[in-house]
Amino acid sequence: MRRQKLLGLNGDEAAAYAIKQVNPDVVAAYPITPQTIIVERFSEYVADGLVDTEFVAVESEHSAMSCCIGAAAAGARAFTATAANGLALMWEMLYIAASLRLPIVMAVANRAMSAPINIHNDHSDSMGARDSGWIQIYCENSQEVYDTCIEAWRIGEHLDVQLPVMVCLDGFTLSHTMENVLTLSDEAVRDFIGERPYIKVEGHLGEAEFRLDPEKPLTMGPLDLYDFYFEHKMHQVEAMKRALKAIPEIDEEYAEISGREYRLLHPYMMEDAEVALIGLGSTMGTVRYVVDRMRKRGLKVGMVRMRVFRPFPTEELQKLLKDVEVVGVLDKAMSFGAPGGPLYEELRTIFYDVDENPIIVDYIYGLGGRDTPPHLIEEAYEELLEVKRRGEAVEKLRFLGVRM
């Protein structure tokens, strides 16, 4: 394990500090709450000559992602950060970054989508982008934000993967909350991420590394109709599958230098759990606290924090939850008109073909940053235990902490 330094950083600062150590070629970003601290801190690193990065203060998030795409296509390491409406403005370019197979890293300080305009946390922004082809990692605390902003490069650039990575951190709850963060030395980070590798492709003018190179010209982003487009989409399907393998491998390597291992899923007290909550992000810290409290009362409750939402760790979840009788899903985003939130729907899907499947109930919670204190989580657990007693759920879609 490498020596580490303890710093007091909020989530945004943790991201900025990690990116400083990564020293990417290009950072293109546009301010938006609650992400802004990331680009502010990073601008200071640039102004103080602590990084070699070309910082491009673009005029919109659409251009931020376009600029990152141009840079990454030219062989550079490119980073940006955004939130909510900024992510929405990037929408078109998210798909293009992923489909051009460019390992861009982006921090998303999760924030509710307008309207009404709201600066606080929920997951409606990144959940809306879940089909764009980006790897999505949801962090629980600032330490994980720091670590993931380093790991993300290795994951995205992995020769079997070659996909962009979204590092999601809950707005304000993480982005603006100071925590103790153990940081590696610049050298340790540099050694870990190394130089960006390139895959070899067969271009129309011969074999070339997959980047814009005046000596080995490639055409990137050509028109691609019904005779090849589908095959190219299959490449993305495969890349996501391979990412599911690559992420734990890289994580293991990272654990060797940092002592911190994250994996795809974080189960807690699941060995004998009869009911469990599953969810993403910082709320799961509160859930863990409630699990401890309820365990003291002798209640067999457990929880699973999902760290990696894309690619979706289907088999791991099936294994982990197969003996649980009732699963409550914490969704911090709603798909209006749908049977439930995004995580709920996927979880139900993966259990449809499994003989022993839990009863699954969805809890939409925390929209627009609505506080989710321990007693609300406890209420959810009590309901799950009640469902278990009755053997059925009357209502599959519940709303936690909202005035009805």
Partner: protein, 325 residues
Amino acid sequence: MSKAITLKEAVKKPDLLASGHRLCAGCAEPIIARLVLKASRGAIIATTATGCLEVATTIFPYSAWRIPWIHTAFENAAATASGIEAAWRAMRRKGRGPLAKYETLDVVAFAGDGGTYDIGLQALSGALERGHDFTYVLLDNEAYMNTGIQRSGGTPYCAWTTTSPAGTVIPGKREWKKPIDEIVIAHEIPYTATVSPAYPLDLMQKARAAFETEGPAFIHAISPCCRGWRFPPNKTIEVARLAVETCFFPLYECRVEDGRPIYKLSPPSLAIAKRPERKKPVEEYLKIQGRFRHLFRPERRGDLIERIQRWVDRRWEMLLEKAGL
């Protein structure tokens, strides 16, 4: 001043945009693109906004581009170019990375009028303001030709398009062409020029000047479209020349020196400035294009033709004033 490109040099240099692409016979865009690329100095990377040039020069697994080329989207050619330029700049500074070895890199963005006057204006303005070292080439065929001839901010007054049809009440587009060059020059970028494929040496010399410019350079090319403008495909160069001879599209350069725009008319337009009797009436330009047919048939709309002539005259006079002539 940079070393001007000569015809001899241009002829020797192979075409960087190969033939065999699927642009229409008579399209001016590949002529302009080839001439621009002839003027490149060495290492070059191009990006193209969504549009005819992008669609018709590539279809997987084929490509007409002999240079590294990327298309990402419609409204962001300038932003994509910003990223390429930033990548090169960072690698140069670090002395590491695949682009670090190139002392100069010509980054060129091609975009149409839709991708420039309309949907791409914000990205263009941002990139110009940030001062990236790149060349932006506007291929102005004065409508959304790739989607089937819809009006854009670059479409001229009275022109027929499928979304500004010449009806019994409304005679084509009701708005004037947006003064994009003035908008660009107002950004105080070092180099702006207008070009026409009818004057290839002038075009290449300006493209070379643009590449040599440190910072943003903007080339505005009039790009006659036989399908959308409704003229036979063998008349492209004739139309491109008439645009200049009527002063509908004068040729000039504008360099910003010490914060002041210095306008200089190019030889074909300068000749008209010196001998105003050479200036042809705009009617000659209008009447060979079917998109203006309703100005002549079923009856001659002298009022509208006169209005267009006054617009041309006024803008030409303003240009002469700016050029100190």
